[in-house]
């Protein structure tokens, strides 16, 4: 027997209710919905926060405390590991005879010059390669080849050409700084949003105006990342540079201390490196705060 046509019609109507028919009553599901308690702070959390400056100091201070305890308990041979107090004493005695100042100034001189020249060369190369198509062809591929050569392997050549004086030491740092600055700045210039460039053109910016108001400001965050890398490279290469026939500098001091078996002075040198590295990083953070105030990135939870 064939199905009743009237039944079929009424089924179709049940699936597609027209505007005239009343909406079907809502049927609640018979299973309960699992609920979750979300913890609400009511904004009270902010008051109990530890100042971030204190948090940043926590790890170094804790480390110093443990170190002092270990040294004071005579757990390790005092010739291999001195106490933090011994390091401070070594610093004081070196300072009083004027040695520490001499080494510090020599190292700072090399790093500052190396950074200044390296940043200048890396940035100019990045601008040429970033702004001009021909610049990219001329500069970028060559830079990528040279970048792969370990900078320290260039040391013999540098010595051959420039001797063993200050210029050779600064040249090594310049080389090491140029590449991170170049790589990051070039990528940053090329990474500027094409839509912003187009908008600049649409509102009548000249070529130079486009570079000044759109492309370079947009490349600043990437450049600052390069600067941080460069700072690390500079201190690393400074140490190597000061191994070659130097008569002053922190690296030289550490080297000498090793032959005198003076762990306290070695550690003093390392602490100085760390302090300078930290200070440099803080300086870049300060620049970022100033130069990138337009940005509202993720601040961390």
């Amino acid at each position: 027997m064939s199905p009743n046509p009237a039944t079929v019609t009424s089924l179709a109507l049940a699936r597609l209710p027209t505007t005239e028919s009343a909406p079907p009553p809502r049927v609640a599901p018979d299973k309960p919905v699992p609920l979750e308690d979300l913890r609400l702070s009511g904004g009270r959390r902010a008051r109990r926060q530890v100042p971030p400056a204190l948090l940043r100091l926590a790890a170094p201070l804790g480390f110093l405390a443990i170190w002092q305890v270990v040294a004071a308990l005579d757990l390790v041979d005092s010739r291999s590991l001195t106490s933090p107090l011994a390091v401070i004493e070594a610093a004081a005695s070196l300072w009083s005879v004027g040695d520490l100042q001499r080494h510090l100034l020599a190292s700072l001189y090399r790093v500052v010059w190396g950074l200044a020249l390296g940043i200048a060369s890396g940035l100019s190369l990045a601008i040429v390669a970033g702004l001009f198509r021909w610049g990219e062809h001329v500069v970028d591929s060559s830079m990528n080849i040279v970048r792969m050569v370990p900078v320290i392997a260039l040391l013999p050549l540098i010595i051959l050409w420039m001797g063993i004086g200050e210029p050779a030491k600064i040249a090594l740092i310049v080389l090491g700084v140029t590449f991170p600055v170049y790589m990051n700045s070039f990528a940053a210039i090329r990474g500027v949003d094409q839509k912003l460039v187009e908008a600049g053109q649409a509102f009548g910016l000249s070529r130079w105006g486009l570079v000044r108001r759109v492309i370079l400001p947009g490349a600043v965050p990437g450049f600052l990342v390069g600067l941080r890398w460069a700072l690390g490279a500079a201190w690393l290469l400074l140490f190597f540079a000061e191994q070659i026939n130097a008569d002053r500098g922190i690296g030289y001091l550490i080297n000498q201390a090793q032959s005198w078996n003076r762990a306290d002075i070695i550690i003093l040198g390392l602490v100085i490196y760390g302090t300078f590295g930290f200070a440099g990083d803080q300086l870049i953070r300060l620049i970022e705060r100033f130069a990138l105030s337009w940005r509202k990135g993720f601040q961390g939870a």
């Binding site: 839509k195 912003l196 187009e198 908008a199 600049g200 053109q201 649409a202 509102f203 009548g204 910016l205 105006g209 108001r213 759109v214 400001p217 947009g218 600043v220 105030s293 337009w294 940005r295 509202k296």
Partner: protein, 250 residues
């Protein structure tokens, strides 16, 4: 009004009143695939034209050509020399403060003063010193409008400027745009995919289909009472039909 010939063969105007845009036989192909296929369009000075089209119909391409971004098209094209654009995304320079964004590229001495007036017109003068990142979507788009209007354009190009805004903000932006257009009287080409928006705002509504203007309709709906005007539904149905959304009409 100055007319800028990009690729002119004959320059006789067919209409007596001044034109802001004159397009004849405009063609554009990407890799041999034709997107615009002989577009003819005249837009009179002060005329508000809405350009509708499905996605991929070439309406954004047409706007980019009018803007001067895309010069590889073929045909005759004359557009007002004083023209500016509002993009779908605000495209504010994030490292320039709001006022500097508005006056971007202006070289006159009174640029800052005019920028402030334009910001005041869109109700954002108090935000002049703020960074764009602190603006809401609607505020950023209002800055985009101020940036376009401060140039006193004879032709204002709007590339789906309200597409990314929420429905309430969009309604407020419609009212603002209407006020601003009444005050400045530029010719406007509004690219949109929103039929209601076109009927609410425009004097004339065009549909771009298969690379041509397939419908050129004078908007007869009374601007004072858009929704209650009986012409509204009829026009809406006609436009939706032209856009190939016939189901929604019934």
């Amino acid at each position: 009004m100055s007319i800028l010939p990009l690729r002119s063969s004959d320059t006789t105007l067919e209409r007596a009143d001044p034109l802001a845009v004159r397009i004849k036989g405009l063609q554009r192909a990407f890799d041999g695939r034709a997107v615009l296929y002989g577009v003819d369009l005249d837009v009179g000075a002060g005329e508000f034209v809405a350009l509708l089209g499905r996605s991929g119909s070439g309406k954004s391409t047409l706007l980019r050509i009018l803007c001067g971004f895309d010069t590889e098209a073929d045909g005759v094209l004359q557009v007002a020399r004083q023209r500016s654009i509002v993009f779908q995304e605000p495209r504010l320079q994030p490292w320039l403060r709001v006022l500097d964004n508005v006056t971007l590229g202006l070289r006159d001495r009174d640029a800052a003063e005019r920028g402030r007036l334009a910001l005041d017109e869109v109700g954002l003068l108090p935000r002049a010193r703020d960074w764009p990142v602190t603006l809401s979507g609607g505020e950023a788009q209002r800055v985009g409008l101020a940036r376009a209007l401060v140039r006193e354009p004879d032709l204002l190009l709007l590339d789906e400027p309200f597409g990314a805004l929420d429905a309430l903000t969009r309604l407020r932006m419609h009212a603002l745009l209407r006020t601003l257009c009444e005050a400045h009287r530029p010719a406007v080409i509004l690219v949109t995919h929103d039929v209601d928006e076109a009927i609410t705002l425009a004097d004339r509504i065009l549909v771009l289909k298969e690379g041509r203007i397939s419908l050129d309709m004078e908007n007869r709906v009374s601007q004072r009472s858009v929704r209650t005007d009986p012409v509204f539904e009829r026009q809406r149905a006609q436009l939706l039909n032209e856009l190939g959304v016939a189901d929604a009409v019934a």
